[in-house]
Each structure stands twice: as C-alpha cells, then as structure tokens.
C-alpha cells in the first residue's frame, strides 16, 4: 500500500476563486492510501515546495498528488521537489484543477466537485505508480535549418559560430528569401541587399555551414538529439561544384519568355537562369518546364557554351539522408493571392499591383532598374493610391482574407509613400488606412515623417472599388474624417496584401509532428515564455513561419532559436523519458500491429527462445521496444490485440483505475 500526500494549490485566486480548496483537501483525506492532505496559497513557491518536502520526510510518503495547474506548467517543478526529498520523481502525479477546472467553471460548488473528482483520479493512479528511471540518449552535434531566408541564414550563422555544423535546406535555387526582393528597409532606409548579401556570403563561406539549395525536406524520423532527415536535392541539370556562375549559358539560352518569379512575373528570364546577381550559390539552374533540350531534346546550346562543362541534362533528383540533433523551421511567408479581391481590379489592370511588386519596381536590380513607372505603359505615375489591410483583419464570415493583422504593412507602406515623395515630388500619394499601427522603435516617428515632411496624404477610410477606365484607375473610397465619398483618378494602385505562411509549412509540420494554428502558423511551446521552441522537443521556430514579423524581430528570434539549439547541442547526452512502451513477451503474438503504427520506428521484432512448462524450448517472434527511440505516444498499446504492449507510467490498469475513480 502506498503512503500518499495530497497538496492542493490555491494559485492565488486562480483556483481558490472557483474551487473550495479546503473542501478538496478534506475530501481527498479519506481516499485509499492518503495519509496526509493539505492546501496552500502557492504550492510552486519555495515555501510550498518545502511543505511537500517536509511531508515526504515526516509522513514517509511513497507517492505525491499535487492538485494545481496543468502538468505542462509545473510537473517538472514538483518532480524535482520530490526527488530532492528522496522520492522517485515518477511517484508524483498532477491533478489539473486550474486549466481544466477552475478556469472553465463559474460557480464554486461545480468547481469544487470536479476538483475532488480529478484529485481522486490522480490518487487512484499514484496507488499503482512504480518508480521509473530515465535512460540516456546521445546528441548528434549537427543542426538542420529549413528555409534560407533572413531567419534561416541568421540562425545558421549563430549556430555555426558556436562551432556546430549546420545544413540549410532552401527550396529555391538561391538563399536570401523575401528580403532579397526588398528595396529599402524601414525605419532606417538602409538597402536590403546591402545588409543581406554579406550575410549570404558569410553563410556560403562558413566552414560549418552547408547550403543545400534547390532542395526540400522529404522525410523526418527520430527524435530530439537524433533526427534522421531525408532531403531531396532537385535536379538543377547543372553540376553545382563545377559551375562558376559566369552566366554564359544564360546569355545564350534561346528560351527568353519565362516569367521571372524573382521579379514577380513583371519581366522574363531564360530557361537556364541565376535568380539575381548576388545569388548564393551563384550557380545556374535549368528550368525543366521551359528548357527545349529537356522537353524534346532539341537545343543543347548551353552545354556547348559552358567552358567548365557543368551542364548535365541527365541529372536526376538526389536523396540525401543525414542525422541531426536539432531542427529549426524558418519557412517564412508569402503575400496572399489577390484573386478574391477583384473589387480592386488586380486581375483587370497591370497598374494595380501588390506591395511586393512595388518593391521590385523601385529596386535598382528590378525590371525597370529602379525607375518607378506604370507596368502597363511605362509612363511615370503622377497619382498613386496605396490601400492598406487588403485581406488582413477579415472576419471569418466575410469568407475571404485572414483574421489577423499582417503587422508589417503599415510600416512598409509608409516607407513606399515616403520614398516615392522623396524621389518624385511631383507625384501625389494617398494612403487609405483603417488604423496606422506603428509599435516599434522609431516606427511612429517614421510614419509621422512621411506625413509631415513628405506630405503623404493619409486618409482614414477604405477603398471600395477600383475601376480601370482608359488610362486611369478610378478609385472610389471613403474619407471618414470629412464624411465624404472620394473619387480619385489614380495612375497606380498598390495593394498591401495580407501575408500567410509558405505553403510548404503544413506538410512539413506533419513530418515534424509540430503543431500549427488554424492559419498554418507554427505554434510555440509557450506564447510568452517559450516563444522560439515548438512543443515538439528538438524542433525550433525562426521568423515569420511562427507569425507575421518584420526583419529586426525575425533576426532577434533567429538568434534566440540558435541559442536554444546551441544549448541542446552542447550536451553530450539527454535524459530520456522513462514513460516508454514495454512489451510483455509472454503475451505478444508477433502480429506486427504495433510496429506498423509506431511513428518513431521504435519497435522491432526478434526471434526469442522460450522455455515452455514441459521444459521444451520454443522460438517465438516477439516485439521489442527501443526505449531510446520510443516517445511514449501510446499508439502501440492501443493497436496491440493481445494486450501485451503497455506504457510505463501510463499502464492500462492505471488509466482504468483513474476512470473508475472518476465514475465512482
């Protein structure tokens, strides 16, 4: 029989407000095995923990039940407390009477009744607990960063600087991401390329960093400290190690009408291409959808002009398998498609563009060499209308757009407006806004400068319709301050499209068993206290894959994710969770059900000799669990038809005892 102590926490008024904590402590006193029961204001405080320690010694407790907040919050705390008092930490159970009880109930009688039931279940479980000892697993001292934008580059550089090897997997032919497409950055107006490209070069030259460009993650196995990842290196039909990036192939390629994705389709590239001058790696890639040689074997010009002999039309996709101790997700964002917002005539007029297209139009390396002209006729625009919040802050019942604020649009629009007025003082600039959101260092000052020094017309209101009539875009909008419906003849309309996570994020989350929110942003382990870790151990988050972010925020988070990775990789070994599956070999019938459902590949089958009652020897096929690989998910225990598979710390009899206690 166990000797159990029950400790009921008030959590200030968080629990005590809707649960009669004295009544709970009193009621649980009479449960089987309970020899001590008390309540206290803050059980997690030093004083609270001392109460537990003292009770363990004074009452020779063999088990502890803490009725408090979620085990995700303080299970580790109370296990440590028990262990300091000489008790096996796995003899501690948490009854969650806060998140699952006091916070969801409004009246004291209901809250109290449920708290008692939850406490009773925990006591029933502890009665069947057995001491467990964690094992150890090795840490592979190499990290994987998925995504090669500014987030991925910064994380990789920081990890590499600490001396650990890092691989960056980037699906595009070059690293650089969205930042490489930007012109200037707010609020300091330094040139994006000038501050990004040195980092790209650093990454390429760092001996601890390997860049796998034009590659995608195909499969992820293993667990924290020991992931096994399969990466598909897509065929670029150019030998990366030989290509010098001279560009002779690009010059000679006769296929000149391929929409250039780097300039968002506003100009064309060749079928063999280098995305931009400072690309890393600076290596050509052949686009198989447009290359005549690859499509019908008729051309081969690029191979003929390549003096290095780097062109290889027979190249195939290559699968690389590598082991990593930690994985960082840095998959970034994209502007949403504007197809559903055609009240702004995006599909009808070339002169209605997205803000990212505007960036390319003002970038010296863009399709117009930085000259701001209308895409339709190349003329200088004299009136520009910027529309904020296109697809952001939309209610779900509006059936289009995103519910969240995209965060970066207010500032980059202020930047666009200011730079336009600076370079082209003859151009009138209107910005239609719902709210101007500028919480950031020097952000509001920047926006005010756009208004006060540069004379940008900020209009509180929204655009209702853009009508392309001849050469002009007739903009119909509301000016809520003056109470007028405005009609502006514009030459160019710029839409601040909402941003969304990259489409690769969802399948990647499935591979990593990392959780996402309804918008497909990765979820952090704790929104305030663990913002760069995913709830899946060993998987970390960097940049806009976790939520809309500007560059300074992304870089800070990238560094934070790197420091978490370094903290993991410096360890030689990790203690493993002892709550792993275990097979009762006498009951196992060798059916393989458990092996098939195990998501971690932790189960193997062996042929084992058994001595039968008649002393004969029988060889049977039985399941064996690798405790270093098992993550304790319990899928096998459910799949096992003979009841041979059980989970330490969550044995079937313990779960049934809990259910019985609840139903009593």
């Amino acid at each position: 029989m166990q000797r159990i102590g029950v400790f009921v926490c008030w959590c200030g008024s968080n629990i005590a407000g809707t649960v009669d904590v004295h009544a709970v402590a009193e009621a649980l006193k009479t449960e089987p095995g309970v020899v001590f029961s008390t309540d206290y204001q803050y059980m997690c405080s030093q004083a609270g923990q001392n109460i537990i320690k003292d009770a363990i010694r004074d009452y020779r407790l063999t088990g502890v039940v803490v009725c408090s907040c979620s085990p995700r919050m303080h299970e580790v705390t109370f296990r440590k407390t028990a262990s300091q008092a000489g008790l096996n930490p796995y003899m501690v159970e948490i009854a969650n009477i806060r998140e699952q009880c006091s916070w969801v109930h409004k009246d004291v009688p209901t809250g109290t009744e449920k708290a008692i039931i939850l406490g009773r279940a925990a006591v029933a479980k502890v009665n069947l607990n057995a001491p467990l000892t964690p094992g150890e697993s090795l840490v592979i001292k190499r990290a994987l960063v998925i995504g090669g934008g500014i987030a991925g580059i910064q994380t990789a550089l920081d990890i590499a600087d600490a001396g650990f090897p890092v691989d960056i997997v980037e699906k595009q032919p070059t690293i650089g991401g969205k930042m490489a497409q930007l012109d200037k950055t707010f609020p300091t107006l330094d040139c994006a390329a000038c501050i990004l490209t040195p980092k790209m070069v650093d990454a390429a030259q760092n001996e601890n960093i390997r860049i796998l460009s034009y590659s995608e993650v195909e499969k992820v196995g293993g667990f924290v400290g020991n992931f096994e990842v399969t990466i598909r290196k897509k065929a670029r039909y150019v030998k990366e190690d030989i290509c010098t990036g001279c560009g002779a192939c690009v010059e000679k390629c006769p296929m000149k009408k391929v929409p250039n994705e780097f300039n968002l389709g506003m100009d064309n590239r060749r079928a063999v291409y280098i995305p931009f001058a400072q690309a890393v790696p600076k290596v050509a890639t052949i686009d198989p959808n447009y290359c005549n040689m690859l499509k019908n074997g008729k051309c081969g010009l690029c191979a003929r002009v390549c003096t290095a002999g780097a062109i290889d039309y027979t190249q195939k996709d290559e699968l690389i398998t590598e082991k990593y101790g930690a994985i960082v997700v840095a998959t970034g964002y994209n502007p949403i498609s504007l197809d559903k917002f055609d009240e702004f005539a995006y599909n009808q007029s070339k002169d209605v563009i997205s803000s990212l297209e505007f960036e390319r139009l003002t970038n010296a390396a863009g399709p117009t060499a930085g000259k701001l002209v209308r895409p339709s006729d190349g003329k200088h625009p004299h009136t520009i209308v910027f529309v904020q919040c296109v697809g952001s802050r939309c209610d779900a019942c509006a059936e289009k757009g995103k519910e969240y604020c995209s965060k970066i649009c207010c500032m980059y629009t202020a930047k666009h407006a200011m730079l336009t007025r600076d370079k082209y003082p003859d151009t009138e600039v209107y910005v239609f806004y719902i709210d101007v959101r500028t919480p950031g260092k020097n952000f509001d000052e920047f926006y005010r400068r756009a208004v006060e020094e540069y004379g940008v017309h900020y209009v509180k209101g929204m655009v209702g319709k853009v009508s392309p009539e001849g050469d002009t875009l007739k903009v119909q909008a509301s000016d809520l301050i003056s109470g007028k419906q405005l009609h502006i003849d514009a030459d160019l309309v710029v839409l601040a499209a909402a941003i969304e996570p990259d489409a690769s994020a969802r399948p990647l989350a499935t591979m990593l068993t990392a959780s996402m929110d309804t918008n497909d942003f990765f979820t952090e382990a704790h929104p305030k206290l663990r913002p760069v870790e995913s709830p899946t151990a060993g998987v970390f988050l960097s940049g806009a894959c976790q939520g809309p972010k500007d560059i300074p925020e992304t870089v800070s988070q990238a560094g934070a994710a790197a420091s978490k990775v370094i903290g993991l990789l410096v360890k030689d070994k990790l203690t493993t969770n002892p709550c792993v599956a275990q097979s009762n070999e006498l009951m196992c019938n060798g059916c393989s059900s458990c092996e098939l459902v195990c998501p971690y590949g932790a189960i193997t089958y062996i042929d084992k000799e058994f001595r039968m009652p008649d002393r004969s020897i029988q060889i049977r096929r039985v399941a064996q669990v690798n405790p270093a690989v098992c993550q304790g998910c319990g899928a096998c225990t459910v799949a096992c038809p003979s009841g041979a598979m059980d989970l330490n710390g969550f044995k079937s009899e313990q779960i049934i005892a809990e259910v019985d206690a609840i139903c009593r």
Partner: protein, 263 residues
Amino acid sequence: MKVRYFPGCTLKNKAQDLDLFARKSALALGIEMEEIPMWQCCGGVFVSANDEVATKLSSIRALSDAEEHHSPLVTVCSACHNVIKQTNHQFNTDSAFRQKAVNYLASDTVYQGGAEIYHYLEMLRDLVGFDEIKKKVVKPLTGRKIAVYYGCLLLRPNSVMKMDDPENPQIFESLIRALGAESVYYPMRNECCGGYIALESKELAEKKSRSVYESAKSAGADTIVTACPLCRYNLLKNNSPLPVVYFTELLAEALGAKEDSNE
C-alpha cells in the same frame, strides 16, 4: 432534360422577349421547360428581415413544386432568381422562419428544403455546358463586341448566390464567347443600375445607369446584354447610346432559334 420553370411577372408582360427566347433556346438545346402552374410573383426583392414571412411564401411554393417533381428550378429573371435563392437559404438556415413558413402554407406536401435552383445562365454552364452550346451555334455572333451586365442581383450576396466570383465573374463572358462574340471587360459590369429607385428618385437612377453604359461604351462595346428587365429599363430610359438586349435573344440568334417556329 426537364426543368421546372418560374417565369415571373415581368416576363409575362414587359419582358416577353426574355421569356420567349429563353423557351426557344431551351428547345434548341433539348431542354423541356415546364412552367410551374399557378406560380405567383416573387415580390421583386427579397426582404432580408428574418421575421418577414408572408412575402416569401410564393417562392417557397415554387421551390416545393420543383422538389416534388425532382427537377431543377430554373429562373431567367435576375430578381426572381435572387428572391427565390435567398428565400431557400433562409428556409434552410433559420429554423424559426422555416416553422412559420410551413405553418402558413399548411399544404399537404411540406417543402423539405431540397430544391436545386439554377439561373438560366447556370443551367447553360452546369447542366448543358458552354462547350456543348458552342457546338450547337449555327450563326456565330462573330465581330460583335458585347458588354455583359450582371448588375447586383445575380451575384450578391455571394455567400448565398454562389454563382461566380462576385468581383471577377466569368459565367456571362464565357457564354458570350461560346456564341462567337467578343466579351468586353468594363469595371461597372457588377455595379447597380439604380433598380427600383427609379420610382423614388429618377435622378439617382439616371446617374447610376449612366455610369454603367458610359463605362461599357468607353470599353468599346457595341451592345449591352442583361438578364434583368429592370436593368434594361433603367439603361434604356436613361438614354443608353448602346442597345441593351436580353441574353436569351443573343442565344436564340446564335442557335438559329430566333426566327424559326411560330412567334
């Protein structure tokens, strides 16, 4: 294929062409349009208040008829289509309204909410297919530059009407192209002509109508095509420089069904 047909009041009076050519075209396409017996006027506009019941009963009768006959319910007039579709949506989403409507009607067969409602354009797209129509065109409208005019009732509210993208619709344009004509884009194709405001403020109706036909004209159209008698009235009454015709007339013309048979 047989469909149940709700013509509506205007198609029996001022918009007889819309009705006549719809029937002739259907015949040419092998569709039997069975007019619902004893149909009643839809009321012209859907009253959105959820406690408004009596004004919606005629629509429910028509819906019930189609359900009983296991046939699609087809309308040609934009207004009838809008009212019937919105009524059906309310019937299926608002249980208090449904109960009241059923009590009011007190008929032997209770409507179950299962009628399939098609505007004639949707029937052409979804039940016949524009490729099929293209094959049956005998007099292609080559060289014509058509401005299709959706107005508001066909597309909105989109959450209920679900005909096409309300800001960039293609259904009408696709039909025009299938008939061999060129479809001209103009931004006012889905804006209001003024509608019934013609009775309240002739000035406002004039202003709205003018903005529509001027937009169509400056886009280079030679004809405006509509599915709504009120749109046609407003545009013509307010001096549209372009002819405004019903889409069924163009369809009948292209199918070679306009002149044959007795009129």
